[in-house]
C-alpha cells in the first residue's frame, strides 16, 4: 500500500455531480451523513445540464394519467427487457419526486391553473396503449439545466462537500470484496488523493463518446463503467445503445423529442410524413428505436433529403413563432447558432445520433451494485452503489423512453441515498485499507509518464469512435460485429503503445484524456462483444441476420466481465412489486 498519498475520510463518497449524484448527495447531506462529491468538472457543467425535453411523471395535469399506464409504456418501450419491480418503483415514485423538485426551486413551465406544464413525448399512452398521453414535465426545453442547477443549489444549502475538478481513477476494494472509496487526482495539481468512505456511489453518467457522432459532452467517457470493470464487476446489457432520432445532421447536437411532442413531424425528400407508414398510430411519437430505424431506412432507400440524400427534415414552422419561442427556445438558439436557419421559417435537417447508454453497472432498485460474484446471480457488492446513466437497474431495458432518464436519476439517486443511510447505520466504522487497489491505480497513472515514441491518444480515440460507428451502429450483422470485435481489440493493443508528449502535472488535460480513453476502450469492448453475442433484435439492438425478438432464448440480461471478456446472463425480473406482470407482447406503435 502506497503510504505517501494523502487520505481524506468521509461517510459517503459520491463520484459524479450530475442529477443522480447530486440527488443522492442531497439525501445524504440532509441526513447529516458526511458526504463528499467528486466531479471532474464544476458540478453545473455535468451533462444533465444538456437534457432538454423533460421528466416523466403521471401528474395528470394536462390529460388523464396514472403511474400504472406509465409503467406499461416504460416496459413496452424497453421491449420487455426492463425489470418490472424497478419500473413499478420508479413510476410510482415519479409524481412525488417531481413535486419535490418543484419545491426545491426548479422553474417548471406552468399551465394557466398554476400547475406544472406537461407535454406529450414518444411512447406515451393512456390506458395501456390507447390515446397519446402528456406525461413529460418541462421547464421550456431546458429541463435538465433547471433540475441540475436547482439540485446543486440545494446542495450548497445542505453544505455538501465538493471536490471540484478531481478525476476518479479507480475504486479501492479489499480482499473480502468491500469497496472502501476511490483513488482520485486533483486535476489542478496532478496530485493523487485517497478518499476513504464506508459507502461509494458511482454516478458518472454515460459513454456516448464511444461513437463519433453523438449528442454527448466531451466528458461522457464512461469513467464509472471502466472503474467497475477494472474492479471485477460486470456491465449489464451494454449492447443496447440508444440512437436519438433527431440530432442535427452531420453535427450531432440534440433536438429534443419535445419538438415532436409539441407537434413537429418528420418529412422525407418527397415531403411525405413517412412515420405514418412505420407507426400508424403513434407516428412521429413512436419509441426512439422505431423512429431512428425509420429514418435510416428512408435514407438507405433513397428518400433522404439534401444534395447527398443523407438526412430527413424535422418540420416545426406550422407550430407558429409563439409556441417555438415559449416552449422550444433552447433548440431554436442551437439551430440558429449551428445551422444559421430559424426553425420558425424553415425545416431542420436531422439524422439519428448516438445518445444514451441503456446498459451499465448492474444494480437493484436500492442502487446497490449486484453481480454474480458469489453463489447467486445478484450478490451485492458491499459498500458500492450506482445510479443514473452509469447504472443498469434496469428500468430502460432495450430502449429508453424519452423523459425517463431525468426521472431515473432523481428516483434512483434518492433511493441509493436512502439505502446508504441504512448501510451506514450497520457499518459504523471505516474498514482498514488493505489490498492492492491503490497500487494498481497508481500504476495506471504512472504508465502515462512513460516517454518516447508512440501513437497519440487522440489518434487512437478517433479510430475507436469511427470503428464503433462503422461496426456497432444502428443495424448490425454477425459478420460486421465479428470484425468490430477484432478491430476494437486491436485498438486496445494500440492504446498500450500510445504515449503522451506532455508529462506536466498542473492541469494536464492530455493526461485526463488518456485516462478517459482507457475507460472508453473498456466500454467499447463490452458494447461490441455483448452486441455480437445477442442473436436477436430487441429495442435498440437491431440484427439484420436475426430480425425478430426471441423471448424463448433471449429474454435475459447480458453480463460482460473484463477478465477474458467473459459473458454471462441473468433472468429479467418479470414480477412487479404489487401489480400483475406485463408479459411480452408484439410491440407496435
Amino acid at each position: 500500500m502506497s503510504s505517501s498519498i494523502p487520505v481524506r475520510r468521509f461517510d459517503t463518497l459520491v463520484i459524479g455531480a450530475g442529477g443522480g449524484g447530486l440527488r443522492a448527495a442531497l439525501q445524504l447531506a440532509q441526513a447529516e451523513s458526511h458526504v463528499a462529491v467528486v466531479s471532474k468538472v464544476f458540478p453545473t457543467r455535468s451533462h444533465t445540464v444538456a437534457a432538454q425535453g423533460g421528466m416523466n411523471a403521471a401528474l395528470a395535469n394536462v390529460l388523464p394519467d396514472n403511474w400504472h399506464w406509465h409503467m406499461f409504456d416504460t416496459i413496452k418501450g424497453s421491449d420487455y427487457l426492463a425489470d418490472q419491480d424497478a419500473v413499478e418503483y420508479m413510476c410510482r415514485a415519479a409524481p412525488r419526486l417531481v413535486v419535490e423538485l418543484e419545491h426545491a426551486g426548479v422553474p417548471f413551465s406552468r399551465l394557466d391553473n398554476g400547475k406544472i406544464y406537461q407535454r406529450p413525448f414518444g411512447g406515451q399512452s393512456q390506458n395501456f396503449g390507447g390515446d397519446q398521453a402528456a406525461r413529460t414535465c418541462a421547464a421550456a426545453d431546458r429541463t435538465g439545466h433547471a433540475i441540475l442547477h436547482s439540485l446543486y443549489q440545494q446542495n450548497i444549502h445542505a453544505k455538501t462537500h465538493f471536490f471540484d475538478e478531481y478525476l476518479a481513477l479507480d475504486l479501492i476494494r479489499d480482499e473480502s470484496g468491500y469497496i472502501l472509496g476511490a483513488v482520485v487526482i486533483e486535476i489542478e495539481t496532478g496530485e493523487p488523493l485517497i478518499i476513504e468512505a464506508k459507502a461509494t456511489l458511482l454516478a458518472t453518467g454515460g459513454a456516448g463518446q464511444i461513437f463519433r457522432t453523438n449528442t454527448n459532452a466531451h466528458i461522457n467517457t464512461g469513467d464509472g463503467l471502466g472503474m467497475a470493470l477494472r474492479a471485477g464487476i460486470p456491465l449489464q446489457d451494454m449492447e443496447f445503445f440508444q440512437f436519438h432520432p433527431t440530432g442535427i445532421a452531420g453535427k450531432g447536437m440534440l433536438i429534443t423529442e419535445g419538438a415532436r411532442g409539441e407537434g413537429g413531424y418528420l418529412l422525407n425528400k418527397d415531403g411525405e410524413r413517412f412515420m405514418e407508414r412505420y407507426a400508424p398510430n403513434a407516428k412521429d411519437l413512436a419509441s426512439r428505436d422505431v423512429v431512428s430505424r425509420a429514418i435510416y431506412t428512408e435514407v438507405k432507400e433513397g428518400r433522404g433529403c439534401g444534395p447527398n440524400a443523407d438526412h430527413v427534415m424535422l418540420k416545426l414552422e406550422h407550430l407558429g413563432p409563439e409556441v417555438i419561442q415559449k416552449r422550444l427556445p433552447g433548440i431554436r438558439a442551437t439551430i440558429q447558432t449551428f445551422l444559421h436557419i430559424d426553425p420558425i421559417n424553415e425545416p431542420i435537417p436531422i439524422y439519428p445520433t448516438a445518445h444514451y447508454t441503456m446498459g451499465g453497472i448492474p444494480t437493484n432498485r436500492y442502487g446497490q451494485v449486484v453481480a454474480p460474484l458469489g453463489n447467486t446471480a445478484e450478490e451485492t457488492v458491499p459498500g458500492l452503489y450506482a445510479a443514473g446513466e452509469c447504472a443498469c437497474v434496469s428500468v430502460h431495458g432495450a430502449n429508453r423512453l424519452g423523459g425517463n432518464s431525468l426521472l431515473d436519476i432523481v428516483v434512483f439517486g434518492r433511493a441509493a441515498g436512502n439505502h446508504i443511510i441504512e448501510f451506514l447505520e450497520e457499518n459504523r466504522y471505516h474498514r482498514p485499507l488493505t489490498g492492492d487497489s491503490v497500487d494498481k491505480a497508481m500504476a495506471r497513472l504512472a504508465r502515462w509518464d512513460q516517454k518516447g515514441e508512440g501513437e497519440s491518444v487522440k489518434q487512437v480515440r478517433d479510430d475507436l469512435k469511427k470503428t464503433m460507428e462503422d461496426y456497432c451502429g444502428v443495424f448490425r450483422t454477425d459478420e460486421v460485429l465479428a470484425e468490430g470485435v477484432d478491430k476494437v481489440i486491436e485498438l486496445e493493443q494500440r492504446l498500450e503503445n500510445a504515449r503522451l508528449r506532455d508529462h506536466s502535472k498542473v492541469f494536464n488535460t492530455a493526461r485526463v484524456e488518456a485516462l478517459e480513453l482507457e475507460n472508453l476502450m473498456d466500454v467499447a469492448i463490452a458494447t461490441v462483444c455483448s452486441a455480437h453475442a445477442r442473436k436477436e433484435s430487441r429495442g435498440a439492438h437491431s440484427r439484420i441476420d436475426f430480425p425478430d425478438r426471441d423471448d424463448e432464448r433471449w429474454l435475459k440480461h447480458t453480463l460482460f466481465f473484463k477478465e477474458e471478456r467473459r459473458l454471462d446472463y441473468k433472468p429479467v425480473r418479470m414480477k412487479p412489486l404489487s401489480v400483475d406482470s406485463f408479459p411480452p407482447k408484439a410491440r407496435v406503435y
Binding site: 422553474p107 413551465s109 466531451h218 433552447g330 508528449r501 506536466s504 498542473v506
Partner: protein, 230 residues
C-alpha cells in the same frame, strides 16, 4: 487562419507569452473546433470545454478582447490573428484555464436557492404563467463567468462586489413568486459594495452568451430597495 494564443505553464514558464498557430478552417467552424485542432498540434495546450453547444459554460474565454463561449463563437467573422486569452482578472492556472474560486464564492454568498418558510403542500406550489415568466432571462444562467470577469467593478473588488452573475441569481430568487426570503436577500445586499459597486457599465449584458441582462436585474433590485426605503 492565424490564432494568437495566450500560453503559460507554471512548471516551465517564468511568465506568460502569446504563441501563434495556423489552423485550416472550414465553413461553420466554431472557435472550440479551432482550439481542439491547436491541441492536436500541441498536446500541452490547455483549455476547459465540454458540451460543445453553449449549455455547460466550461469554455468561457476572452476572444479578440471580448468574453464569449468558444463553442458557440463562429470563427469566420473574427479578425485575424484571432487573439485568445483567459478570462480577464482571474488568476491563471495554466494557458486558458483560470481559477474561478472567487466567482463561485460570490455565487454561493447570495444564497442561490429557494427559501420557503411555510409548510410544504402535498402538490406543487401554484405559480401562474405570468409569475413564471418573470424568471425568464434569469434562470437560464450557465455560470460561465463571462459577465463578472468583464466587469471593471468586479476586477477591482472581486472579494466585496458580488458581481453580475451572482446578482442575477439573487434577483432570480427575489423574482420567484415561491420564494419567501426577499427581505433577507435585500438586507444582505446593503452597503456600498455588494450591490452598489455596479456602475451600469453594461459590459456584463453586452458579453452574455445566453443573452441575459444582469444590468437590468441589478437595476430591479435597486428599484425594490429604493421603494422599500421611501
Amino acid at each position: 487562419m492565424r490564432f494568437s494564443i495566450y500560453r503559460y505553464n507554471p512548471e516551465t514558464d517564468n511568465k506568460p507569452y502569446m504563441q501563434d498557430f495556423e489552423v485550416v478552417v472550414n465553413a461553420g467552424m466554431m472557435l472550440r473546433d479551432a482550439l481542439l485542432n491547436i491541441k492536436e498540434q500541441d498536446e500541452s495546450f490547455t483549455f476547459r470545454h465540454s458540451c460543445g453547444e453553449g449549455v455547460c459554460g466550461s469554455d468561457a474565454l476572452n476572444i479578440n478582447g471580448t468574453n464569449g463561449l468558444a463553442c458557440i463563437t463562429p470563427i469566420s467573422p473574427l479578425k485575424e490573428p484571432v487573439e485568445v486569452r483567459p478570462l480577464p482578472g482571474r488568476p491563471v492556472i495554466r494557458d486558458l484555464v483560470v481559477d474561478m474560486t472567487q466567482f463561485y464564492h460570490q455565487y454561493r454568498s447570495v444564497k442561490p436557492y429557494l427559501i420557503v418558510h411555510d409548510p410544504e403542500p402535498e402538490e406543487e406550489y401554484r405559480q401562474s404563467p405570468e409569475e413564471r415568466e418573470k424568471l425568464d432571462g434569469l434562470y437560464e444562467c450557465i455560470l460561465c463567468g463571462c459577465c463578472s470577469t468583464a466587469c471593471p467593478s468586479f476586477w477591482w473588488n472581486p472579494d466585496k462586489f458580488r458581481g453580475p452573475a451572482a446578482l442575477l441569481q439573487s434577483y432570480r430568487f427575489i423574482a420567484d413568486s415561491r420564494d419567501q426570503a426577499t427581505a433577507q436577500r435585500l438586507e444582505e445586499l446593503e452597503g456600498p459594495y455588494r450591490l452598489f459597486r455596479c456602475h451600469t457599465i453594461m459590459n456584463c449584458t453586452n458579453v452574455c452568451p445566453k443573452e441575459l441582462n444582469p444590468t437590468k436585474a441589478i437595476g430591479e433590485i435597486k428599484k425594490i430597495m429604493l421603494k422599500n426605503n421611501t
